[in-house]
């Protein structure tokens, strides 16, 4: 296999990481909603933590996007 096609396959494989990170982001919001419906009074105070969890989960997906971009355009 030549290097160019290997790069493209690698970039495609990196997209799996973005997909799995979407599971993480969905999980963050699902659990928040689950907890918020049980105790709506406490939900508003926890929105900051919700977005911290969201940011942490999302970053890992974005990193796989960076890997794909580096493979396609830089490496």
């Amino acid at each position: 296999m030549d290097a160019d096609s290997a790069k493209m396959i690698g970039a495609g494989l990196a997209a799996i990481g973005a997909g799995i990170a979407s599971l993480g982001v969905g999980n963050v919001f699902a659990k928040f909603l689950e907890g918020a419906l049980r105790n709506p009074g406490a939900a508003d105070g926890q929105q900051g933590r919700l977005f911290i969890g969201f940011a942490a989960a999302e970053l890992l997906g974005l990193l796989s996007f960076v890997v794909a971009m580096i493979l396609v355009f830089v490496a």
Binding site: G48, F51, I52, F54, A55, E58, L63, V66, F73
Partner: protein, 260 residues
Amino acid sequence: MAAEGKVDPMHQFTIEPMFGTDLWQVAGYNIAFTNSALWMAITTGVLFIFVLGGMKRQVIPGRWQMAVESMTGFVDNLLSANIGPAGKKYVPYVFSLFMFILFANFLGLLPLGLVGIHPFTFTSHFSATAVLAALSFSIVLIVGFWRHGFHFFSLFVPHGTPVWLMWLIPAIELVSFLVRPFSLALRLFVAMMAGHLLLEVLSGFVITGFNAGGIGPVVGVLSFLLMVGICALEILVAGIQAYVFALLTSLYINDAENLH
């Protein structure tokens, strides 16, 4: 047209010198006034006008003053919730940061291409977001060392660390502290870049779909509908990313103010 009408998704991120300033140089470095700098200036101008309109200090606020006050109140709440009373003095910085990123993201999404002006989202460039992140991180370092001196290093040893883990935990904490500016800058830059790339790729589908015969227009229409949805999502992402940037900045400043 079908073959050569291909949309290059990366073209929107090219930085070009404007108004014939291509050759301006200082000490061998090119300092041309680029489209990135132009949109930064526009963002600053719009933000300035927005805040100026709310500075009338009427007892009964009008709509504009209400809008500005709700934004400052939002940042104020964010800081007092995360830092406590000591957070008051960071309101100007975090407010400017939040509004600058928010306005930059929104201005970059404006459909001005219809009238021939192409908005440039400078937050989709690592160099721009890295400067913002470095600013936040240096504020954390300066405040931390100013207030706590070398006691600031106790940040790397959380309360209740067992003695036999003393070799490992500080190393992990140090690494997690040092990647903060990178994660901060990378998140904003990649989220904005990925969104704009996605919109451009979908617009490419629409154009090639309508140019192709057979089932092509069906694909084009579906892509267009998806694109409208993604645009709405991008507006949400633009707001969330600005909020997350401000939120994480305030958390990091909290570490510097109060240790943990």
